[in-house]
């Protein structure tokens, strides 16, 4: 499990042409834990809560001022998830990704789409 939460990071291609589909990679070091573990003897196994549940609840993707995607996530998500998605570069604007966890804490990162060539 991730020991500390680091701000999310975005990577996009450096050479972007207008109206081309680009790949966006978002990495977020955030722990995820269902809170459950098997704490009983093997003869009659039972899952118990061992820690409070921790997970990213929502991921929102903005392109410029437009909300282009929303991911509703549950506790089954991995620690330190890496999200990769594609987006059509229609304008020079920021791609902003917002993460909100089940405690209501919010993190965001952004990267500017600039056309070259």
């Amino acid at each position: 499990m991730a020991k500390e939460i680091k701000p999310p990071r975005i990577r996009i291609s450096r050479r972007i042409k207008k109206d081309k589909v680009i790949k966006v990679k978002v990495k977020f070091n955030h722990p995820s834990f269902t809170g459950l573990a098997m704490a009983d003897d093997a003869s009659e196994p039972v899952f118990n809560r061992v820690k409070p549940v921790t997970f990213i609840r929502n991921m929102l993707v903005y392109y410029g001022d437009d909300l282009v995607s929303r991911l509703r996530i549950a506790s089954g998500i991995a620690d330190d998830p890496l999200f990769i998605f594609k987006i059509k570069a229609t304008k020079e604007a920021d791609i902003k990704v917002v993460f909100i966890d089940n405690f209501g804490k919010k993190w965001e990162a952004s990267k500017k789409v600039k056309f070259k060539g």
Binding site: T34, G35, L36, A37, A39, D40, D41, E44, V46, F47, N48, R49, V50, K51, P52, V53, F55, R57, N58, L60, L67, S69, R70, R72, A74, S75, V98, I100, N102, F103, G104, K106
Partner: protein, 234 residues
């Protein structure tokens, strides 16, 4: 003789008073414990806590806990120890893996209220989409409800509970508790579309039963769900 009788009476009175005062001050308390990861964690807590504090552990229940948290029941003398002291001491005990125990407080599952941004995003992107108006085709409701009850026991009770209280045997592994189904008791046809959509497509941890149940079976379930009443005393 009279002196001896007086001493006996006063001794008896003192013994009675002191025993009744102990009875009055002996309390039983339950603590939900965080950090019990292995069998060794159970043994370590049970061994260490009585060493540090003068109390008696009644039991450490893992199996019959509604919330899923292991429940530690202790008996202690409130004159000598406070509840806060017990909580602090539990927090100071280290389990064999090097973790510290903690008394769980607060809600079972922390899920903060949705922020304005999230609500706005849901309204833009939609949370539950595609609910269309559907009409319940059932003619014989009595038979349909019976079929629905059998299907509910077979497919739904594991999570929603036999009486629909949302505390099914596997439910405490979920992110959120399943819906308490008596919320739909006596609902009119306005709820049909929503219930049909949820059963067909699933939501959150609930799978899309549309892949498994036929259209008629889904309606049988809806008819039965609408008959589930809230048990008395809940």
């Amino acid at each position: 003789m009279e002196f001896f009788t007086r001493i006996c009476v006063s001794c008896f009175f003192f013994a009675f008073c002191s025993s009744s005062s102990i009875m009055a001050e002996t309390l039983e308390e339950e603590f939900k414990i965080e950090g019990i990861i292995t069998i060794a964690s159970i043994k370590a807590l049970q061994a260490e806590l009585p060493k540090k504090l003068d109390l008696k552990i009644i039991d450490l229940n893992l199996k019959k806990s509604d919330s899923g948290w292991p429940v530690l029941r202790v008996q202690y003398n409130s004159d000598l120890i406070s509840k806060d002291k017990i909580e602090t001491t539990i927090g100071e005990i280290e389990d064999p893996a090097g973790h510290f125990y903690k008394v769980h407080k607060g809600p079972l599952i922390t899920n903060a209220e949705l922020s304005e941004e999230e609500i706005q995003a849901m309204s833009v992107m939609g949370d539950v989409v595609g609910i269309s108006e559907v009409k319940n085709p059932t003619v014989d409701f009595e038979t349909s409800v019976k079929r629905g009850e059998d299907m509910f026991k077979k497919n739904c009770a594991k999570c929603h509970g036999l009486n629909g209280n949302g505390y099914g045997v596997v439910a405490h592994g979920f992110t959120t508790w399943p819906k308490q189904l008596w919320a739909w008791n006596g609902a009119d046809s306005g709820a049909d579309g929503y219930l049909y959509w949820i059963i067909e497509n699933g939501k959150s941890d609930m799978p899309p039963w549309g892949l498994i149940l036929s259209e008629d079976e889904r309606w049988d379930l809806i008819n039965y769900i609408k008959t589930i009443k809230k048990p008395e005393g809940i």
